[in-house]
């Protein structure tokens, strides 16, 4: 536990120093948005044991709603992000209520299919801009005082949001509610026989995960100033699974590490190898499943525990 605290503090210090370091802040902001997305996803897969194959729907719909509220309705950033999260929470409520009627692989297939439905709606609805997406979303001023136009200010806002999500997930998982979720993950039948309203717990976890994923999507729109169909694509759902799996399902830091790796990989590898990046991502998936299912953080934690017990 001590090691992880030192590491977390070091990572936080490093994150605070990013604007002074010369690293392109927009890249780190994008990375943080995906880290929020992956942490939200991990709440569902890692701590509640539900494999959703359609999380791009929540990320993307919040991104669209935020962009639409700012670009056409003239809302401020705070209201637009809240609106985006609300949209993804409602979507999560509807899809979650349908999907939890089945378990395991069927759950995965249902979430995948309904996310595809959301994709088609985004493709054809009049307010999403179709193939072009929504362009020219202004960042505006937060609470009337913080000019988000400045990359430094925007960066610290995104960082604060990320830290907030991280702490919130820690709190949720360690709460009695989180313990019940873990019990459901490990043995659903037993949780039912103990008298827990399993469905209600699962649905709440689903909605929480969807709204936090939406926060990631909304912030991404704000940071980059545009939303496109790629946010709601099935590939995006796949990537968030990969981030979580690669970093370590069911660990707290894992999704962050995974998001950092996958986003960096896409940013820099695509310059080197072009279109082969999809093939490489597929290969990482295969390698993850076959050789280190606990993910990077999970494996490191297990090694460390073994080392200490010696």
């Amino acid at each position: 536990m001590r090691y992880s605290r030192i590491l977390t503090a070091a990572a936080l210090l490093a994150a605070l120093a990013i604007p002074a370091s010369g690293i392109y802040p927009v890249f780190v902001m994008k990375l943080l948005c995906f880290a929020i997305f992956a942490c939200a996803y991990n709440l569902l897969l890692g701590f509640s044991g539900m494999l959703s194959f359609g999380h791009a729907a929540y990320f993307g719909s919040a991104a669209y709603v935020t962009g639409w509220l700012i670009a056409t309705q003239g809302w401020g950033p705070l209201g637009a992000v809240a609106g985006g999260m609300l949209a993804s929470a409602l979507l999560g409520l509807v899809i979650g209520a349908l999907a939890i009627r089945r378990q395991g692989i069927y759950f995965a297939m249902v979430t995948l299919a309904l996310a595809q439905l959301v994709y088609f709606v985004c493709l054809e609805a009049p307010f999403t801009g179709g193939e072009n997406g929504l362009q020219g979303v202004a960042r505006g001023t937060l609470l009337g005082i913080l000019p988000l136009k400045s990359d430094v200010v925007m960066y610290y806002v995104v960082l604060a949001a990320f830290v907030g999500v991280y702490l919130l997930i820690l709190r949720i998982v360690h709460s009695p509610f989180g313990q019940v979720l873990k019990a459901i993950r490990d043995n659903e039948q037993r949780a039912i026989s103990l008298g827990y309203e399993v469905r209600r717990y699962k649905l709440l976890a689903f909605v929480l995960s969807a709204s936090l994923a939406g926060l990631g999507g909304s912030l991404k729109t704000l940071v980059l100033g545009f939303t496109t169909l790629s946010d709601v694509l099935q590939a995006n759902s796949g990537e968030v699974i990969l981030m979580t799996l690669l970093g370590g399902t069911g660990t707290f830091a894992g999704p962050v590490v995974g998001a950092a790796l996958v986003v960096t990989l896409q940013e820099y590898l695509s310059e080197l190898v072009g279109g082969w990046v999809t093939v490489i991502i597929g290969a990482i998936f295969v390698a993850c499943v076959l050789t280190f299912r606990r993910g990077i953080v999970g494996e490191l934690g297990a090694r460390l525990a073994r080392f200490r017990n010696r």
Binding site: L51, F53, L98, A99, R101, R102, G104, I105, Y106, A108, M109, V110, L112, A113, L114, Q116, L117, F120, V121, E124, Q234, G238, I241, L245, G274, G275, W276, V277, T278, V279, I281, G282, A283, I284, F285, V286, C288, V289, L290, R293
Partner: protein, 294 residues
Amino acid sequence: MTTVFGIPVVVILGQLTLGLVNGAFYAMLSLGLAVIFGLMGVVNFAHGAFYALGAFAALVALQHFGIGYWPGLLVAPLCVGILGVILERLFLRHVYRLEPLYGLLLTFGLALMIEGGLQQVFGASGQSYPVPESLQGALNLRFMILPKYRAWVILASLSVCFGTWFLIERTRLGATLRAATENAPLLQAFGVNVPLLVAATYGGGVALAAFAGVLAAPVILVTPQMGASLVTVVFAVVVIGGMGSILGAIVSGLALGVVEGATKVIYPEASNIVVFVIMALVLILRPAGLFGRE
């Protein structure tokens, strides 16, 4: 001209046959998924990738080796089937003892590799495959004009589906297969080579997808992504029909294709999503699926 609700009957029948053609593809793909899932407990996410691979194999066979449509219909599924057996031996066999979700994730990775690879080699824009000469033109059935190739697709897929059903439900090999589904260790104790049977089943299942890909090649644009969107619809079909029964997979595949065609006539905007909406309704009314047992 005869019309129903102001829509010419010819148009309606045309869309319905088009729907039946699509349904034929859904049926063949969900059939393969059901067979693979039944025996191996793996939902093969790469099914759409193998479908695309089949179409490209036929294309390469035609362009580089002069192998025409009819032999291609055999050669392409054979090649893809062999590839399936190799991939099963290399990767898939390691996940049977794990939770079923890992099989889904593994085959998702395989799908990305296959589709990404196809895109790098052939480009994303797509190519067309010529309709074989003997199937060009259309049949005039008086009440409608039926393109010969569409009729052939429906006929071919129905025969293949029936053949697969017969193989599994009515032959000795099928009985062995069903026994392996029920209790593989016991079957192995009787001296049946179960790992070989599993590999062959996976090969057969993906060969079926490749066969569908070759059948589809002359009527659609052959692109690396042609299977990716299809597989999502097929998953919805499988949720609706339930993966427990082979006949259920065939029937729901065909039926949903027709429903999709009918939607194209009545309310075209919804034709892309109608299958998903039906899936949502089935989940509300009959969560286990129409033919499912739980």
